[in-house]
Every structure is written in structure tokens, then in C-alpha cells.
């Protein structure tokens, strides 16, 4: 197999679509060819980028309602025993058998998947913070107070960021901007603690690999504090929204701010 043959099979190789013999040949080539191994890594990075970050545009509720009204509902009718029970019980039985086999495998690997997912969220929060720091004009709205910043997000996001803490002498609210957290838009609130910048990202929380372990009760929330690359990060959920707090300030100070942010209005 030469490089051209291997590259034409890379996507199928990564998706597990190749016959065993061909798969072995591709793997053997990748182990000895640095250029093709690098191309394979680039393809994988591209797939992960698209799967995790390409913005999704789901249908609006209004469109869903229109479509649901467009399709006629199923009329009631007398059904045979098999139609009423057999068709529902048989698939359920099959699913039960499949689950009995799959659940042990799932739980064996679940902690690893969860840890990877959490690491991705933490890395994303830090990267977003770094982008903000590197930006020449990080703030799209300068703060004259929370009641100036929050309304600015109206019409710019498909959700209302719930932030009740208006800033104080310890944590001054500087302003806000629109950012992205993985595949979704985020409201970015920027606070100052002495000379340190603190980013608060608020985003829709569904469909993300939220941590379920090492949670700490802070105020009324269960938060996940951690540190990576010298930055402290706190993640938590409240209702449908997710929150990520990132800064190089001391972890206790960041938790103090998380506590203030978690308080109900």
C-alpha cells in the first residue's frame, strides 16, 4: 500500500468501515509513515472540530408547532393483541437484553469518557479566557453596571443570561461580550479583581459532558472547581444554563465570586 492508497482510506479507517485485512494494512502503513500518520491526525482533529464546535441551528419551537399541526394525528382504532402488546413488548425485550450486555461495558468506560468530556469543557473555558485576554478590544459593551450589560445581550443570544450579581468593590464588573463555548454562543461577563481579569461565560447547558464527581456545594449550587495551565476554573449548572468562571486569581477568591454569582436575585 502506498501513501495515496492509504490517504484515500483514512476516513473509512477512522470510522471503522474497513475490512479487517485492509484495516491492518492501513494501520501498518501509518506506523511506519510519518507523513501519513500526520495526515491521519489532521483528519481526526478536523472531525473533532466539526463535531464539537460547528454551531448547530435547531428548528425553532414555532416551526416545530407548525409542522406538528401539518401532520395528521393517528386515529384511534381497535387493534389485535399482538399490535397492542406484542409490538411494544418484543422491542422492549430486545432492548432489555441489549442493555444487560451493554450496561456493564458502559459503566466500565463511563468514568473515562466523563473525565475526558470535563477536561474538554475546562480547556474550552481557559481558551475562551485567553482569547479574551489576547483581544485588543475584549469588551463589546463597557459596564455602567449590570443593568446596562445584561440588556445589551438581548437579541444577540437565543437565551437570557441569568446573572444576579451586579459587581461590588471586590469584583468590579467591567463589561460584556459575545463569545462561543464549544458549539454554542455564550454571554461573556468580565470582572476585575485588583489587576486580574475574571471571565464568566454563560451558555445553554444541555448536551454537554458536565462533571458529576468532585462537586462542591457553593451557595445554592454544586460547583466543579479545578485548575489547568495556571488558571483556576469553576463550572456549574443552574437550570438550563451553564456557567464557567476562569481567572488566574487565587482559587478561594474565585470561589467567593462563584458564591456571589450563585445567589438568587
Amino acid at each position: 500500500m502506498d501513501c495515496q492508497d492509504v490517504r484515500s482510506q483514512l476516513l473509512d479507517y477512522q470510522r471503522g468501515r474497513l475490512e479487517p485485512k485492509l484495516r491492518r494494512d492501513v494501520r501498518a502503513h501509518l506506523e511506519t509513515c510519518g507523513a501519513c500518520a500526520h495526515t491521519e491526525e489532521a483528519e481526526q482533529a478536523m472531525t473533532e472540530l466539526l463535531e464539537r464546535r460547528l454551531p448547530q441551528h435547531p428548528a425553532s419551537l414555532a416551526l416545530k408547532r407548525r409542522l406538528a399541526a401539518q401532520w395528521p394525528s393517528r386515529p384511534l382504532k381497535k387493534d389485535s393483541w399482538w399490535n397492542r402488546w406484542g409490538r411494544s413488548v418484543a422491542p422492549a425485550f430486545a432492548v432489555a437484553v441489549a442493555l444487560l450486555v451493554a450496561i456493564p461495558l458502559f459503566y466500565e468506560r463511563a468514568p473515562v469518557r466523563q473525565a475526558n468530556g470535563t477536561a474538554i469543557m475546562v480547556a474550552e473555558a481557559v481558551n475562551d479566557h485567553l482569547r479574551l485576554l489576547a483581544s485588543q478590544h475584549p469588551l463589546e459593551v463597557e459596564s455602567g453596571g449590570i443593568h446596562q450589560v445584561k440588556p445589551w445581550f438581548t437579541g444577540r443570544l437565543d437565551f437570557a443570561p441569568v446573572v444576579s450579581f451586579v459587581g461590588d468593590q471586590e469584583f468590579l464588573l467591567q463589561g460584556g461580550a459575545i463569545g462561543y463555548f464549544l458549539d454554542r454562543k455564550a454571554a461573556v461577563f468580565v470582572f476585575k479583581r485588583r489587576l486580574h481579569t475574571i471571565s464568566l461565560l454563560v451558555f445553554r447547558g444541555e448536551g454537554l459532558p458536565w462533571p458529576s464527581r468532585r462537586l462542591e456545594p457553593i451557595g445554592g449550587i454544586q460547583a466543579y472547581p479545578t485548575a489547568v495551565r495556571g488558571f483556576n476554573v469553576v463550572l456549574w449548572r443552574a437550570g438550563e444554563l451553564g456557567y464557567a468562571l476562569v481567572s488566574d486569581v487565587d482559587s478561594r477568591e474565585l470561589l467567593t465570586l462563584a458564591d456571589k454569582l450563585s445567589e438568587s436575585p
Binding site: S8, L50, R53, H57, A59, L63, L67, S73, R74, P91
Partner: protein, 181 residues
Amino acid sequence: MWSREEPDLGAALGREALAYVDTLHNTARYLTGNDADADDLVQETYARALGAADQFTPGTNLKAWLFRILRNTFISLYRRQRNNPIVGGLDTVDPFAQGPADEKWLRDDIELDRLRNIVAEEIEKAMMRLSEEARAVILLDLEGLTEVEVAHVLGCAVGTVKSRLARARAALRQQLGDYAR
């Protein structure tokens, strides 16, 4: 589940079909470029699917069938309105014959790291700079359709799907390179 023998075929099919509305809307949004046209395209797709419910073969992939209707609807309603080059060479060049030069900006690990850190907004912009044909094949692949199903949706040979997808991803990588530098 429903079967062809049921008299309320459209209703049963509709319930299953509506489960795909988000993913169809997402693809429609990337094809049309705006929410209003995407809404219209999805609504027309479901109207046509409802009218053609008896043509659906039970046991085949409903999602792929809906994507094919969406795609054909897009072509009939939108593509003719534009002077869109569409295929634009996706089928005319062997993507695998170009060799390592295709990866000009992904030569080292630093550049790969830059690729991994591109933000969502930039990916969307890069996608929208591709031809509609390239966007379609990338999205269908992301949706988990097999090459055979993608070929059915696009109305082309299976081998063509493979080369189109490779060309489309190469084009996207080049576009993303502009943002990663």
C-alpha cells in the same frame, strides 16, 4: 413502529419524521445561509414528504430519505435562484493524487493545535465560504449517514461521495487555515 399496511401511514411516518426536524433544519440553515429560508425549506420538505409517504420503503433509513427530499427541494426552490457554481471541481480532481502538498498549513503539531482552537464562529464562516455541494457532503457525513446513503441523497455514485468528501474537507481545512494563523 409502523408498517406499509397501516391505513394511517402518513401519521405514523410523520411522528418518526418529526424527530429529525432539528437536524434537517441545521442542514437547511447551512445550505440557505439564513433562518427564514431554512424554515421555509424544512416546511416544504415535510410537506413533500407527507405527500410522498407511500413511496417510502419501510426498513430503509428514514433520515436519509428526508435528507434526499430536503436536498431536492433545495435544488428546485433555491439553487436556480442563484448563480451558484456548486460542484465547482469537487468531482473533477482526484483529491488523493495531490499528496502532502494538500496539507500546506498543517505541517506540524503547533499548527494542528491552532486548528483545534478555532472557535465556532470561525468554523461557521469557513463552512459558508465553501460551495453548497461541499457543505452538503460534509454535513451529511457528520450526520452519520453511510457513503451509500449520502450517494442516495446527493444522487451520485458511492465512489463520487468519497472523492467529494475528501475535496470538501481539504477545502475547509484551507479556509480554516486563514483563521488559525
